[in-house]
Symmetry: D2
Subunit: 304 residues, 4 copies
Amino acid sequence: MTDKTLWVGLIGLGTMGQAMAANLLGARYPLTVYNRSAHRAQVLVAQGARLANTPADAARGDVVITMLADDAAVESAVLGPDGVCEALGPKAIHVSMSTISIALAERLAEAHRHRGQAFVSAPVFGRPEAAAAAKLFVVAAGKPIVVERCLPLFEVLGQRTFVVGKEPSKANLIKLSGNFLITSVIEALGEAFALIGRAGIDREQYLELITSTLFGAPVYETYGSLIAGERYYPPGFNASLGYKDIRLVLAAADVLQVPMPVASLIATRFLALIAQGGGDLDWAALAKLVARDAGEEGRLLSRR
Amino acid sequence: MTDKTLWVGLIGLGTMGQAMAANLLGARYPLTVYNRSAHRAQVLVAQGARLANTPADAARGDVVITMLADDAAVESAVLGPDGVCEALGPKAIHVSMSTISIALAERLAEAHRHRGQAFVSAPVFGRPEAAAAAKLFVVAAGKPIVVERCLPLFEVLGQRTFVVGKEPSKANLIKLSGNFLITSVIEALGEAFALIGRAGIDREQYLELITSTLFGAPVYETYGSLIAGERYYPPGFNASLGYKDIRLVLAAADVLQVPMPVASLIATRFLALIAQGGGDLDWAALAKLVARDAGEEGRLLSRR
Amino acid sequence: MTDKTLWVGLIGLGTMGQAMAANLLGARYPLTVYNRSAHRAQVLVAQGARLANTPADAARGDVVITMLADDAAVESAVLGPDGVCEALGPKAIHVSMSTISIALAERLAEAHRHRGQAFVSAPVFGRPEAAAAAKLFVVAAGKPIVVERCLPLFEVLGQRTFVVGKEPSKANLIKLSGNFLITSVIEALGEAFALIGRAGIDREQYLELITSTLFGAPVYETYGSLIAGERYYPPGFNASLGYKDIRLVLAAADVLQVPMPVASLIATRFLALIAQGGGDLDWAALAKLVARDAGEEGRLLSRR
Amino acid sequence: MTDKTLWVGLIGLGTMGQAMAANLLGARYPLTVYNRSAHRAQVLVAQGARLANTPADAARGDVVITMLADDAAVESAVLGPDGVCEALGPKAIHVSMSTISIALAERLAEAHRHRGQAFVSAPVFGRPEAAAAAKLFVVAAGKPIVVERCLPLFEVLGQRTFVVGKEPSKANLIKLSGNFLITSVIEALGEAFALIGRAGIDREQYLELITSTLFGAPVYETYGSLIAGERYYPPGFNASLGYKDIRLVLAAADVLQVPMPVASLIATRFLALIAQGGGDLDWAALAKLVARDAGEEGRLLSRR
């Protein structure tokens, strides 16, 4: 497989990025990594990764992946000084795997097009455990010939890749809509658990019942288990990031003129969770907010 | 199997009740049926069912099942003149399988207890197709010895029975909470489809993507398919009944003092759907309301 | 004025009823009072009122007024044994001044019509201070000739009477819609105060500004002052009663098929306030809930 | 009064700006006006105003007022090339009277501070009729000595000025919170009118009743009258601008971490109104959306 010779850069070594980098190294890709706080790169360097000093330095290979926390971080790493755009070669590809706004995805696409660089949006579904186990789902969009070159990388990182079109931002919209669906499950489960719990019904038994019947999907199993067991810390994905994402959903809804009442309600609830000190709890803690609203005094929103 | 000799009555021959009656006949239970409009019993009578003239007449065997549309119908059939309570023998069992309020379940339990009659709440999950295929999920609660006598019947009607405790109304609360979860999926899918559809993303492909990843549960497959294809008529379960159920959820939430913001929002949306003429559409038509709110002129809420 | 010779009964001696009774005595109406807990009648008896032992006993004059907390109390006092209906003479009038459901108002109208008794719905706007000062606003509906006979009484109790039609329940609907408007003001003020307060803007100065400009109405002055000063106890009208009323609004909205999203939202918020222990705070404490949602730790919802 | 000799510039000749300019001319202030479409200046030029070719040209006097539709317009006119900042003299004052975001107000304050220019935020309450009648309410914040120099101008433009502090953005937050309060009144009135209207109660009589009792404020009179008469076109202030403002409110709520559930709900409703073609109706048309949700077929949201 000639693609094994792709030189890969990866920018962003949060929990997700670290796991992805380890998998790329495991598949013997030559890998350069960059992170604002270089110490997060130590383990990877010990495993053979090269450490870059700037985003630009990580972008001098065939493919550079960005996996960063938010729009601002991506914008700075890609469009800022010493950023990806300055260094990326004419045939090289920037693969944006972060969850970012539609607007930024469009600006990135335009910036790369302008410079004759290739660009693929490929956000992922999956929490850090899934990233570590190479079980992510990758949603990719971009020029077909470019996306195809990336497929071997996606195979290393995930369990399945969905190619959803030529326009990169479409992949981001699907990712955002998926995160909205997850938050709707969390909030609804939170309300349901609060209701049946108040009546004295066993929460674990209830979870087993619903996931054995109509709701037997990973999203109900994962979040149902966190909520039934009230395990909100440490977070797999924290409430502040969840709030960021739901606001990106609403920004897209605004541009597309689609009123989304449940999404709006959930944004307000995330803000309440964060205002009460729960920003670094798992986003499943929306359910804790329901319990608190219902007067469960013993479960105040202290951080852990 | 001695239980095969149970004499069974079934009150309520809507789409669900008819399918259940056919399955009981198929399993060779001696069956008496009652329906307010007797003509709905014809096919069953041709298959060997006996036709009762009153609910009381249907309740003179070992077990009588009620499968009716709402609280009022159950109340009238059970507690009214010529009702179940008047005729049910001292060892006989009333199995309430309708989706009814917690309050009525408690009143029924009390009325039967008072008369030394046995009572089991056993609401089901599943649409008419599932009832016909004997694939319902039965959620049963009542005295263990009584529930046990009913298990063979539940095996005939469904694919699995969950016994959730001694207090009948607990089963009803679980059923109601489950219906709430379904409505939350419908509304969230409606918002997600409206969003990605407006951006030109193919709805069927999107559905395939989400159900192949985190949302691979029957509830997403069933309702996602109805929404992607905009198939809201004829209804499997109509919006007016859905509205009835979500109000029963809110009534329980009121008594248990659990604020449920998404449930409240969904109740308001059902009322809007009904006020605009969509009461006899499938309850999945909440998604049609989202599309209409977003200005999709071509999809007005005419009845079909 | 021959009407001064009207013999009046008054059932219900809560804060509102007591103030109204005192005003009727002050205007020299012969007055019989009834309250479930007789001790609340003592001061009035000292001022000349006669004490009745049953609602029926209070209903043997020309006019009997009911001013009770909720539907159940009115239903029991009017339609129950030893109730108003049993004793009211053929030309005598029942004036229902409580805030009750449309459904009950219609049942009362029907019950009285059936017995040839006269009935007027005349709910009031105004808190206990207004009742004491005879500054209530009375919204009256019923047969014109009957309403007219009651006008002198309303003049004693309030500052102005609005006659809104022949159908008694119309007055109740107007009253309920008015209470909804009040709750919408409370919630909106709560959100506005939380916002500007968080930015360090002085709350009293802000209140002065808004009530000097577009919002110079009693409802903003009264509730703005309670909220700016965080004075929620003792209540003029408590949150539990407010919740009762907003549910009556939603019940009417349901029957009339008018989705009311803000009313639904406010009902959910009242339930949260009550679940967190705030049921006996003034209903203006909806604003306290906003502050708590925003993380104001020092203002927990302990009762006072 | 030496202040009469102030040389004034006014940028932005929408309905509000034109009325304000006319009043300044009427008070004999030497006035230079600028508008992107110069033709809107014709009447004013005929009345003695000088026409500027750029925002900078309008900013060479003692005071320059900006009265523009949104953040983008203000940002361009003030911070862009040929903008106010480039031309404003060291002692000259920029008075920002538009409804803009807290964030932009802070950036303007910083930009002017950086250049040694004076800056006052002075947004106004009042529709075009009020601007024409010099009945605006001005909410001003900035350095006391600078605000004081502006007071004579505010007296010409409005009926009362509230000075609310030194930090300009505080005035903007108060303005935004006030607009939120207005939208909450519109939405609540819309729901109340839909409810009582459906019951056959006369809408004008209802309005008279509520504004004669607890709700006797200009905001209820103005919007109640528009809603009762269903007069949504031509708009005094259109729904698209209302939506813009409520989003600015939510942006401030986000930064200040104050969850505002009613504000969020109203934003969603504005988006629905706009998506259905109502963006150029008066923002009171939120009430029309309620009617439509309630199934009033005859009142579709065609533009007028």
